[in-house]
């Protein structure tokens, strides 16, 4: 049996949800992923104010904490993200940074930040293509891990000295953008996540009869996710679920228990 270390991301983290996740042993759930790639209010009821409390609670329970940085790191969000990383690091609240912005990882490398950085799946192109030159470029910027969707790259990336995070279960994202789709559709401005409640509708591509789920900044294929089981074990599996109930169902059906 392949030894597995599971990192769990939920779409929405509250202290209540975290308490349920912390009930699972480290053999079942080794750690959690905090941080929304697009909108802090989509994930946290109080925005990034919740991030520190959740990280502290998870660390206290012996879990690995991974901070996922935002995708669109324009200014001043860039500075805010660096501040968050510095705070998490100074207080020992974060074990890995999951990033996809070259400017950010370059900055963290130059600043000699101690928390290891892993390159996120959001940093690869639509075909998830990887080359050795690309990986070596990331290594030159201090990256110590890489998240992949293609199991064929687990072993080669390991051989280059990086830890590998395998994105094994997550909604299939078709596209995303810098501005919230829900704001665009309703033509109103969101107030700290209040539109997320309306973000539960579907659109249909008439040409291809394809159903897409509108989820804030992201359009997802409206179909069940598939668990990718690689033959070569990565260092970590990452799964992205909607809530703790889906996590319980997932663990019951998989062999992480």
């Amino acid at each position: 049996m392949i030894a597995k270390k599971l990192l769990v991301g939920l779409q929405c983290w509250t202290l209540g949800e975290l308490e349920k996740v912390l009930q699972f042993s480290n053999e079942q759930v080794a750690g959690i992923i905090l941080g929304d790639p697009f909108c802090e209010f989509r994930m946290f009821p109080h925005g990034n104010w919740d991030l520190v409390a959740l990280a502290k609670s998870a660390k206290g329970a012996g879990k690995t904490v991974v901070y996922q940085t935002p995708v669109y790191l324009t200014h001043p969000r860039f500075e805010n993200t660096v501040s968050a990383i510095q705070h998490l690091e100074n207080n020992g609240l974060c074990d890995w940074i999951l990033a996809q912005d070259v400017g950010l990882i370059s900055y963290l490398h130059d600043a000699a930040m101690r928390t290891p950085v892993s390159w996120s799946i959001w940093g690869t192109d639509r075909t998830s293509s990887i080359s050795y030159s690309y990986v070596n470029f990331l290594i030159s910027l201090g990256v110590r891990g890489m998240e992949v969707v293609n199991p064929e790259w687990i072993e080669p990336i390991n051989h280059l000295g990086l830890q590998v995070l395998m994105r094994s279960y997550a909604p299939t994202v078709i596209t995303y953008r810098h501005k919230c789709y829900v704001e665009s559709f309703f033509n109103i401005r969101c107030n700290m996540g209040d539109l997320c409640q309306k973000s539960k509708f579907q659109i249909k591509d008439l040409r291809r009869n394809l159903r897409l789920k509108v989820n804030g900044y992201v359009l997802e294929v409206d179909a069940p996710s598939l668990f990718i089981q690689p033959s070569f074990a990565p260092d970590w599996f990452t799964v992205h679920l909607s809530d703790s109930q889906q996590l319980s169902d997932f663990l019951g059906e998989s062999d992480f228990s």
Partner: protein
């Protein structure tokens, strides 16, 4: 001091190239077959690209190669082979859309100016600084940036050249990572966001829309972009018709010339 402004037109064929030159483009960009983000029918092989450079240079225009396809280990050797041949083509710039390729080109020291494509996802000053260290001299700004976000970057690294897409189709999704279908049908290039979508609201009413946006034309508002440091105005549309390229290039040419004329007429003179 008056910045050196550029109208940059697309060309998916020799006909397009001639039309772009005749319509007043300062520079033209073309794709290289197999290594461009557009299908091969709108790209040039290396011999055709050499001929394109000759034609452009005879008319005192610059020609840029777009090497911005999805690059993985499976086609990386193609890139390397191409780059080994490209050094003596005298092209005026390479537009690159992959960090691994930029690193490779930087190491090869080809002596050709490097432009960072929108596909790299440049959103902040540290990324631009890193590109500058790697020898990149121009950043093609992402199409989903707000003007204040652009200003933060151009102000932060004023030594870099900046280019925006000023006319044509604009990708408001993340054009590098969008998985909506892009395909050719009956000789016409389609993008998935412009297809028709349907949504049923709470009242059961069916609404139809696209998730893309109409084409843009920034020619009436060039001055505000020039004021924040943009010097190159790119026209989207290698896959479009020659008539479109003629029209769009003429519009941008007129707008840039009017701006230059206005600045010359209204330059503030200081007397001691």
């Amino acid at each position: 001091m008056m910045p050196s402004l550029e109208v940059l037109a697309p060309a998916g064929s020799f006909e397009h190239l001639k039309v772009a030159i005749a319509s007043g483009a300062d520079a033209i960009y073309i794709g290289i077959k197999g290594l461009s983000a557009r299908p091969d029918e709108w790209s040039f092989d290396l011999e055709e690209a050499r001929d394109a450079i000759s034609l452009a240079h005879e008319n005192n225009r610059r020609l840029y190669f777009a090497i911005n396809a999805s690059i993985g280990e499976y086609n990386f050797q193609n890139i390397t082979d191409l780059l080994n041949q490209i050094g003596d083509t005298h092209c005026d710039a390479l537009i690159l859309g992959n960090w691994g390729v930029i690193r490779l080109v930087a190491d090869m020291n080809l002596g050709i100016p490097l432009h960072a494509s929108t596909l790299l996802g440049v959103y902040n000053v540290p990324t631009i600084n890193l590109l500058a260290e790697m020898g990149v001299t121009r950043v093609v700004l992402n199409t989903n940036l707000m003007i204040h976000e652009i200003a933060e970057m151009t102000r932060g690294v004023s030594t870099m050249e900046y280019e925006i897409i000023a006319y044509g189709g604009l990708c408001y999704n993340d054009n590098w990572r969008c998985r909506l279908p892009h395909y050719t049908q009956n000789g016409v290039y389609h993008v998935g966001c412009k297809d028709s979508y349907q949504y049923e609201d709470e009242q059961g009413e069916i609404k139809r829309f696209t998730i893309g946006f109409a084409d843009i034309d920034l020619s009436p508002s060039l001055s505000q972009y020039i004021a924040i440091g943009i010097t190159s105005f790119k026209i989207e549309g290698r896959t479009r018709s020659a008539e479109y390229i003629s029209r769009s290039t003429s519009v941008m040419r007129k707008a840039v010339d009017e701006y230059i004329a206005f600045r010359k007429k209204n330059t503030i003179r200081y007397y001691s």
